[in-house]
Amino acid sequence: MANNIRKIILADCQKQELIVDFSEGFDGLEINVGKGANLALNLINFGESRNGKIVVKVEENAELFATMADFSNGNSRLDVAINLVGSNARGTWRLSTLASNQDDKKYAVHFHHLAQSTYGLMDNYGVARNSSRLAFSGANEIARGAKKSKTKQNAKIIVFDEGAVAKADPRLNIDENEVEASHAAVVGKLSDDHLFYLMSRGLNLNQAKKLITYGYLLPIANYFHDEAMKEKIAKIIEERV
């Protein structure tokens, strides 16, 4: 565990797994993934929500695999910029978050493809409960010259209660021809059909909602490498939903 990390520099060809816990405080992260290096970054926050900025530079043939489980309480704005600066650089960002009570949480994730054959994947999943507000804005940019790059972004938010407000704003800015880019965003309440199906098997409304929400947030745990952390995530989701 490492708290208050300001700067992570991964030398060329190194392979590293790292957990950063925001709960104790967070001022921002600057990460450099050197040529051919591989960083698995697990971000967690089960405490108080924190504002912050994460800037990552991924060099040639390097890979960033970032996963964030944010089950914190309160208001926050997190800005993430992933710059794929070298050819064949790869970046993945996965987020699972829960906004409850009066929480106001904003996430802005930005992928910047600056070299040839780069790959970017953004997956933002969230649940907005009570009278919380949850907003995802995603931008994937492919710069001129970043030929053969692929970029994808998905945003999905379940609006759990009537009073909650959610917004997903996906954008693609493409300045090159030979590329693949896609985005999808869905914001909606729990499906009545799903609820009816589960209830028709004897689960009450609350159990059905809980089971669906749990199943929606939990898959993030699969991307954590630490077994104890996986269990902790499962436990905290079960407590919160």
């Binding site: 959610a166 896609s182 309440k189 499906s191 028709s200 004897g202 159990q207």
Partner: protein, 275 residues
């Protein structure tokens, strides 16, 4: 003896009346075949019995052993012994089959099954239904073929031990082998004295299970009631004879409204049903 009694049931979907006064009594140990042209109320009847909120009861009664089913929530109906095998079972991603089944079984038990008991029961039921056990750890119906979904419905029926099973086109999407498995599972449950209401368009499934009565629904009402000979007649002649022999005009199904998509890849907010 368990009795499911439906009295002069009227049901609306959105603002259209689909069921226009249906009365029907089903008893434990008895299987009723329910036929009729598309859009004439078969599924509506089953969904209304189970309590799907899309189907609004405007008048009439549904009684299970003299208890008022209409005042029960959907889960209470399930716990009271009603089961609906759906025509289009939902795909619920993230909800693991085994977790869902365990929660469903335990919902109706005073003392929950131990993990060991549960897995033994699950294993034997998966075998019976010819479903690979690995599917227990997959998301509910996600990526299942049509036939796998239907087998998964019957699997749930076996595990939940209902008094009355309402099966809505459970044979659609099944190949011959799967049909044999499903039919033999139904026969086994019939022998346990459960009551069945079985909707199908085809004689094949009906020929493979035991039947007591046949009911044909036309225009939201019961048009004909009789024995298995009616099924053979429909299988060979269709429904036109109802018009010529009984003088009932069969209302044509209105074409379904096509789904409206709201934007293609821009922000989609508050899309109904979260799809």
């Amino acid at each position: 003896m368990d009795v499911l009694k439906i009295v002069d049931l009227h049901v609306n979907v959105e603002d259209k009346e689909i069921l226009k006064g249906v009365s029907l009594t089903a008893r434990s140990g008895e299987t009723v075949a329910l036929l009729g042209p598309n859009g004439h109320g078969k599924s509506t009847l089953l969904q209304a019995i189970m309590g799907n909120p899309r189907y609004r009861i405007t008048s009439g009664q549904i009684l299970l052993n003299d208890q008022d089913v209409l005042t029960m929530s959907v889960d209470e109906r399930s716990k009271a012994g009603l089961f609906l095998g759906m025509q289009y079972p939902s795909e619920v991603s993230g909800v693991v089959n085994a977790d869902f089944l365990r929660a469903s079984i335990n919902a109706r038990r005073a003392k929950p099954l131990s993990l060991f008991q549960f897995y033994r029961l699950l294993d034997s039921t998966y075998k019976k239904m010819g479903i690979p056990f690995e599917m227990a750890n997959r998301s509910l119906n996600v990526g299942f073929s049509g036939g796998e979904k239907k087998r998964n419905e019957i699997l749930q029926m076996i595990l939940l031990e209902p008094r009355f099973a309402l099966l809505d086109e459970i044979d659609s999407g099944l190949d011959i082998d799967a049909m044999t498995i499903v039919a033999s599972a139904i026969r086994e449950e019939q022998e346990k004295g459960r009551g069945f209401l079985v909707v199908s368009h085809y004689a094949r499934l009906y020929n493979m299970i035991n039947l007591n009565r046949t009911i044909v629904m036309v225009n939201g009402k019961i048009a004909v009631e009789g024995g298995p000979e009616i099924i053979q007649k429909i299988d060979t002649k269709g429904y036109e004879w109802i018009k010529t022999e009984l003088g009932i005009d069969i209302e044509k199904e209105e074409p379904a409204m096509s789904a409206v998509s709201i934007g293609v890849c821009a922000t989609k907010e508050a899309i109904r049903d979260g799809k």
